[in-house]
């Protein structure tokens, strides 16, 4: 091995340098390749971006085309009417939007060609169609159908990389809730009657608050206007979640006493004075009570008959009958009919036993019937009390029924007192009668020795003799006949000894029963004016009639009296039921109008509008915040109330009386005061209802769509404007009260 080494350093250095240069070459090549890759990747991404920008152009064009079409159609939504209105509106929007889109599409193709970028839109003819679909939340989804073989293309400058994307249809969200607005407006316009029923409810509540509160019924045009405005606002609130509270507040401020309407209006006033079903329930109880009294009459008649039967019992006839029966037994023996003889003898013995107890038994029956009569009188009173209880329960929320209940249960000649006193009288008299009959019954029980004389044990002895020997039986029969004769004589003596007592008892019972059942003379009368019932077509003036009835005085109660009073009560309750049915049909359906606290609060706010704009223009530009955040719709309306008319319809009103018509129901001690009007509210020229998609002010539009006044372009929410052709709202107001009320009509 050489001491100078294997290779000189210079050689090694050169080798290292060569290696380094080789590595450099490798790095450079790698870097070049990486750069190419990065450029390709960048170019690819740029192409994707270019393609996306063309897609974006198309989507924007579709969106703005639909914006424009939505605005034009929904601002004139009521131009499309009938059953196919919604479909016609949709088709109109699609047609307008397609036209707008095709115009923009042509421009986009040219724009892209002139732009000099790598992206292009390859389309043979700018004839796209555009369909609308309902999206979630009522938004619009525009589906664009481009001509077949439409492509979006892009390529790099050296054409080394190209992209062709078929693009024949696409969908895009249009951020306006057209479908929500249309749906809510359809609900609003399709249920305008509910404004009428709410207004009707409010008028009823106010009228009844006056009639029952003692201040009288006041019909005021300004108050009716206010209540109608509130009903309209409430319908808006329940449909849209908001109302045009600024104009309602403004209109209310121009109405005299509107504050009092807002403060004084109480939706809890039950403007339902009479319910046919409630009155029917009262009638049912009265009918049950009358049935019980009919039962009392039956019981008393049966008692009288039984006493009569006891008093008219002919003991001689019975003795003759028994003698012939003994003959019948003998005949059977003679015919050797042992079984027949035994049977006839048994019957004969039984007849003796029954006959001994007949007079007392009849009185016992009479006593039982009189006792049953007492029970049924008390049951009749219980059913009447049940009627009062029913009335009391329905009186809790109804002043008229309360008044009725108080009339029935008050002092003086109140019906409840009459019935109670009458029942007490009847029960007392029946108790006396029953004890008297019972005493006579005890007195007329036959002596026990009569039975021991005959039949005693003669039945056994006769049967034994017959079984033993028929000839011996004839002897026993003879002996028995002798004892029976003794018994008959004793019984005849007993009966004849009580004959006068029974006659006297019958006389007493029959006269008492007659007195209890007899229909009493009418003892009360009063003149009154007779009007036809509500709903009857009467054109003649009222006539003076005399009302007559029977009043049960203290200590003079009878079954007949109770029957007469209760049947009269039933007659007037039937009439009351008829009145209630008529009232219900006239009053018809009402929907409770409760002024929402939020609405009440909103009505207190005072909005100021720019003087240079109409209110509708101001709403378009910046609609006021909705009362409820969901669904977030602002509301505008415009109508002018031309007049409110009240046409009196009850008979007293026909003849110009300033008081209500009276309907006296003497038998139940009440007088119904009745007044009725046909109420009509008339618009000057229809109404406009317009709602705005407050949550989405997305349409770039000129500030004011009016050639004379233009503001800068701003974003506007989609407006849905509907002209309501209805010009009149009408209902019948019927006020019924048990106390008289004043009627005031004013402006």
């Amino acid at each position: 091995m050489s001491a100078r080494g294997f290779l000189p350093f210079t050689t090694v250095g050169f080798l290292l340098l060569i290696l380094t240069v080789a590595m450099l070459g490798h790095f450079s090549w790698g870097r070049h390749q990486a750069e190419l890759t990065r450029i390709d990747e960048g170019a690819g991404n740029s192409l994707l971006g270019e393609v996306a920008s063309v897609q974006n152009d198309l989507e924007q064009a579709a969106r703005y085309s639909v914006y424009e079409a939505l605005w034009n159609v929904s601002k004139r939504a009521s131009d499309y009417s009938g059953r196919e209105a919604a479909q016609n509106r949709k088709e109109a929007i699609e047609s307008l939007a397609s036209r707008n889109f095709n115009e923009l599409l042509s421009s986009i193709v040219l724009t892209r060609e002139n732009l000099g970028t790598s992206a292009r839109l390859d389309i043979e003819q700018a004839l796209a169609s555009l369909d609308l679909r309902r999206g979630e939340g009522g938004f619009v989804i525009a589906i664009v159908d481009l001509p077949d073989e439409t492509n979006i293309g892009a390529s790099t400058l050296d054409n080394s990389l190209g992209l062709e994307l078929p693009y024949e249809n696409f969908g895009t969200l249009v951020d306006s809730r057209y479908y929500l607005l249309e749906n809510r407006m359809q609900r609003f316009a399709g249920d305008l009657d509910s404004i009428g029923t709410k207004w009707k409810y409010a008028e009823y509540a106010m009228a009844y608050a006056g009639a029952w509160g003692g201040s009288g019924v006041t019909l005021s045009k300004s108050r009716s206007r206010a209540l109608f405005q509130l009903a309209w606002a409430d319908h808006e609130l329940s449909t849209f979640g908001s109302s045009d509270y600024s104009v309602t507040a403004y209109d209310l401020s121009g109405i005299e006493g509107a504050d009092q309407v807002l403060e004084g209006y109480d939706s809890n006033v039950v403007a339902e004075p009479l319910s046919a079903s409630q009155v029917r329930a009262l009638v049912d109880e009265i009918e049950a009570s009358l049935n019980e009294l009919d039962g009392v009459a039956g019981e008393l008649r049966r008692a009288s008959s039984a006493v009569n039967a006891a008093a008219n019992f002919d003991v001689e006839d019975w003795a003759d009958l028994m003698s012939s029966r003994f003959g019948d037994v003998q005949a059977a023996l003679d015919a050797s009919d042992a079984e027949g003889a035994k049977q006839k003898f048994r019957e004969l013995c039984g007849n003796f036993e029954l006959t001994y107890s007949y007079p007392s038994g009849q009185l016992g029956k009479a006593s039982t019937s009189i006792g049953g009569g007492q029970l049924r009188v008390q049951e009749a009173e219980a059913r009447f009390q049940q009627m009062l209880d029913l009335l009391e329960s329905s009186a809790s929320g109804n002043p008229l029924m309360k008044q009725f209940y108080e009339n029935l249960t008050g002092d003086g000649q109140a019906l409840a007192r009459q019935i109670s006193s009458g029942v007490s009288d009847v029960v007392g008299r029946l108790e006396g009668l029953e004890s008297r009959v019972h005493a006579r019954e005890v007195q007329l029980r036959a002596p026990a020795e009569l039975s021991s004389t005959f039949p005693g044990d003669w039945e056994e002895r006769f049967v034994g003799a017959v079984n033993d020997n028929l000839a011996r039986a004839g002897g026993v029969l003879g002996e028995a006949r002798g004892r029976a004769g003794e018994a008959i004589d004793s019984f005849m003596e007993f009966v004849n000894g009580n004959e006068n007592l029974l006659a006297s008892l019958y006389s007493r019972v029959s006269s008492e029963v007659r007195a209890l059942l007899e229909e009493p003379e009418l003892n009360w009368s009063n003149p009154y004016e007779e009007y036809p019932d509500p709903g009857e077509d009467a054109e003649v003036p009222p006539v003076t009639q005399m009302a007559e009835k029977y009043v049960i005085e203290e200590g003079e109660g009878t079954v007949g009296g109770l029957q007469l009073v209760l049947s009269d009560v039933k007659t007037h309750l039937d009439r009351m039921e008829g009145l209630a049915g008529t009232f219900e049909s006239i009053r018809g359906e009402v929907t409770e109008l409760e002024i929402d606290d939020d609405l009440r609060q909103a009505l207190e706010s005072e909005l100021r509008f720019p003087t240079e704009l109409t209110r509708e223009q101001a709403y378009e530009l910046a609609p006021p915040e909705p009362i409820e955040s969901n669904p977030g719709i602002s509301v505008y309306h415009e109508f002018e109330i031309k007049d409110v008319r009240y046409q009196r319809e009850d008979p007293a009103g026909w003849f110009g009386s300033p008081t209500p018509t009276t309907i006296p129901l003497w038998f139940i001690g009440i007088t119904i005061y009745w007044a009725q009007w046909d109420v009509t509210l008339e618009f000057e020229d229809g109404a406009v209802e317009e709602i705005f998609d407050y949550e989405n002010p997305t349409l770039p539009r000129p500030g004011v769509d009016d050639d004379n006044q233009n503001l800068a372009m701003v974003h506007k929410p989609l407006a849905y404007r509907y002209e309501i052709p209805r010009n009149e709202f009408n209902f019948r107001l019927v006020v019924i009260s048990l106390t008289g009320f004043e009627i005031n009509e004013g402006e």
Binding site: N45, D175, L621, P700
Partner: protein, 235 residues
Amino acid sequence: MREAGVGQVADVLFFAFMVVFGSSLLVLASPVELDESTRGYAASLARSTLLSFQQASVDELGELSYNPGLQVSWESELGLRHKTPVQLILEDALLNPQVEIDGRRVALELNREFDESVRDFLRGALDRLVRGRFGYRLEARMTPLELSSGVTLRFDMVVADFDENSRQLCSESVSMALPAPEGWLGAQLEEENALLSQLPEGSFQWFVNALLSWLEPPDSVPRPVVTVTLELWSK
């Protein structure tokens, strides 16, 4: 022996020179190029940001509302939640165009509140998307639209937050046709008295005619194009 020693020293020195020279070449040609990588990432982020500006809604990137400046007594804030940022830029061009008359720029500022809200929104969105890593400069520019000789319609807007001493890493652009609704410009100009006062004397009728001729274009004319450019800068 001395000559041999001198020869060995020269040999070693030459060897050392070769090693140093080779090492220098290797260092200079190192495959690890941090700057290029950053540029690539920045370009990719810029493209993604522009893409998201075309696809994402305002709700997803922040919030935007503005007051149209109407003299009403109630709260009149308009909230735009479903529009894309690109749509906002296009609508800003629609609502706030600028007119250049004989080289003088006249900002109509018809809806300044909206313009400011859009700028604030874009600034907020870019802060969230890119500011953590890069500085940015977003420019939206509408192709000048010559209404008549000497009168040009323009729109440009810049939102930026970057250090001017830093380096620009990338610049990505996207172009969009302006979907101007029919009659949009005339409605604004007729109201803008401030503009009229700045017009050369006697030129009003001429100016309006020029505008109207553009507002009723023949079928299929190119639309103004708005180009949005996003530059990312190093921090």
